[in-house]
């Protein structure tokens, strides 16, 4: 018993790098549906460990399986295969009303016939918590979400942002082991959404509960998360912190889904000292950092972010990666200029140039230019 526990903890520690027992653990979880006589795999095998107190996001386009994955954590869907563990305990067959996690639903799903207070008290009442304690906890929670004084309001009489906070309070008041949020800000307008992102992060710090956040909005995920699982087509493409997801996308999909990426196809010529020289087109060569032994000639794809690229008329230094192209379009976007550049090799690059003090534009449409960047800002990726 002790041995297996220790073994499990070691395995888990290796997976999460931080805490010994993860708050939520998915182990080879698969979800299949029958649709029109065919088996459809919504989730094709997801394994991940979410650490206690973490703000964890599942990010991906619609239909990528992120919501299904969350619903399996909540208990609304039964995995076809695999195991769901909450704090080390197998809950795969435990119904949602017996799981110590609570959910904030897309469009909130507030009880329309109950007022704010009754909505928030609902879970505690079902758990037969004494009335005095319910009063205290609901009062405290409404204070946290800044809804004190609105207890008697009906959901219908409230704004979207207020309903959002009621939904949050209704889930958090139960002091769950983890809070699951399914696109909770999707119905709000941009300004309110940004305000709520900061608000959510504050509340999460305040209550110290694990948040699992499902969204298709990369900005939301990057702003709030400690770690992000980028999902596509039922699989996790990359699981890492926001900075790493953005700076070092592991796959072509992640590079394309998060922010804007430029993709360059080339042929690896030489690998030495952790740097590969990639030939692009007939004339240009770029340098890419690689682990030794991972690239041995052949076709390769290189990605680089638009804001890392410098546009110039002069040929840049030999220590930089550089390619030649023609400016196809210049767009003035206030805080920065965006250039579309057609490369000699056929690819189209986007370059962001910060609108600095002199408000100048480096190149005009039709100019032949050099694009250059530091090799460490580009990555060779698998597709």
């Amino acid at each position: 018993m002790i041995e297996t526990q220790a073994g499990k903890e070691a395995a888990v520690a290796a997976a999460s790098d931080i805490s010994p027992v993860p708050a939520i653990e998915l182990d080879g979880v698969v979800k299949e549906y029958q649709a029109h006589g065919e088996v459809v795999q919504a989730v094709k095998g997801v394994s991940l460990a979410i650490t206690e107190g973490e703000f964890f996001s599942m990010l991906g386009p619609s239909g990528c399986g992120k919501t299904t994955t969350m619903r399996m954590i909540a208990g609304f869907e039964d995995p076809t295969r695999g195991t769901v563990r909450l704090h080390g305990q197998d809950v795969t067959d435990v119904p949602p009303n017996k799981r110590d996690v609570n959910m904030v639903f897309q469009s909130y799903a507030l009880f329309p016939h109950m007022n704010v207070w009754e909505n928030v008290a609902f879970g505690l009442r079902r758990k037969r918590v004494p009335d005095q304690e319910i009063k205290r906890r609901v009062g405290e929670m409404l204070e946290i979400v800044a809804l004190t004084g609105r207890e008697k309001r009906r959901p219908r009489e409230m704004s979207g942002g207020q309903q959002q906070r009621v939904a949050l309070a209704r889930a958090l008041v139960n002091n769950p082991r983890a809070l699951l949020l399914d696109e909770p800000l999707g119905a709000l307008d941009l300004k309110l959404r940004q305000a709520m992102q900061i608000e959510l992060k504050r509340i999460q710090r305040e209550v110290g509960i694990t948040f699992v956040y499902v969204t298709h909005d990369q900005n939301e995920a990057l702003t709030m998360s400690d770690r992000i699982a980028v999902m596509n087509d039922g699989l996790v493409e990359q699981l890492a912190g926001p900075r790493e997801i953005y700076e070092r996308p592991a796959t072509k999909f992640v590079a394309g889904f998060i922010g804007t990426s430029n993709l360059l196809s080339g042929t690896a010529e030489a690998v030495s000292g952790g740097t590969a020289t990639i030939r692009v087109g007939d004339r240009d060569r770029v340098l890419v950092p690689v682990a030794d032994g991972t690239l041995e000639g052949g076709a390769v794809e290189v990605t680089v972010r638009p804001e890392k690229i410098r546009i110039s008329h002069e040929e840049p230094g030999a220590d930089l990666s550089a390619v030649r192209g023609t400016v196809a379009e210049v767009v003035y976007l206030g805080t920065y200029n965006s250039y579309a550049v057609n490369l000699a090799g056929g690819a189209e690059f986007t370059v962001f140039e910060q609108n600095a003090r002199d408000s100048s534009i480096t190149a005009e449409r039709g100019d032949s230019v050099w694009l250059s960047w530091q090799p460490q800002h580009s990555y060779a990726i698998g597709s």
Partner: protein, 284 residues
Amino acid sequence: MRRKIAPYLLILPGGLWLVIFLVVPLVFMASVSTQEGDVVNGFVQTFRLANFADALLQYKTQFLRSAGYGLAGTLLTIALAYPVAYWIAFKGGARKSTYLLLVLLPFFVSFVLRTVSWKFLLADDGILLQPLKDIGLVPADFHVLQTTVAVVGGLTYNYLPFMILPIYVALERVDPRVVEASYDLYSTWRDSFTKIVLPLSLPGVFAGVLMTFVPMTSDYVNASILGGPANTMIGNIIQTEYLVNNDYPAGAALSFTLMAAMLIGIFVYAKALGTENVLEAAAR
């Protein structure tokens, strides 16, 4: 100018229809209800309000019986309709409209014909009772026709779809995520049903009661086909006064008394049960 007239033009045909075929006869009947005389010598308007008192006193039993049958039938339809509506709304899946069509199928057969077929079904030597009598499960002189059970049963059967449909509509409008939220917040099925689903579907029950209680109470077909002399409802009395006794003032007075009683009943019912809570949940 034209825009202001258009809406009125739209209600004109329907409005005229109602005025000619509902309001005019009503006014005419109101006038008849206070007249005196007989069909041979003609009726004379004497503003005799005692017609109402006479009618009410003479047929007090039938009034009360009709209300009782209507109430019993309504409660029975709720009990039978709710599970059906619930099942179609939540378990009907892709075949929902097929099931709804099945619910409405009886309407393709005439109301009277359906009731008459019940008479065959329930006859003393009919296909239901005769086998039971043969195997000795019920005594040989057992009968269902001409009893309260037959009339209330017939009423319940005939008006069941009018209860199923509004309850179904109300249940259909319950957001499945709201139900899921209740499970997420530790509800058992029972909690979820009594605290969430049932309250949210009450507007449907409320509408269903209006659509069944009123026609059941004034119904005369079921009592005349399935009932006996002890099951006469007020609808049968009104029919008899008009068509057999030719006592038009009595028939008119009874009709108006019934109408007034039901309007008051509905008003009280709406005040008591159709509270803001129920309607607010529906208005979402």
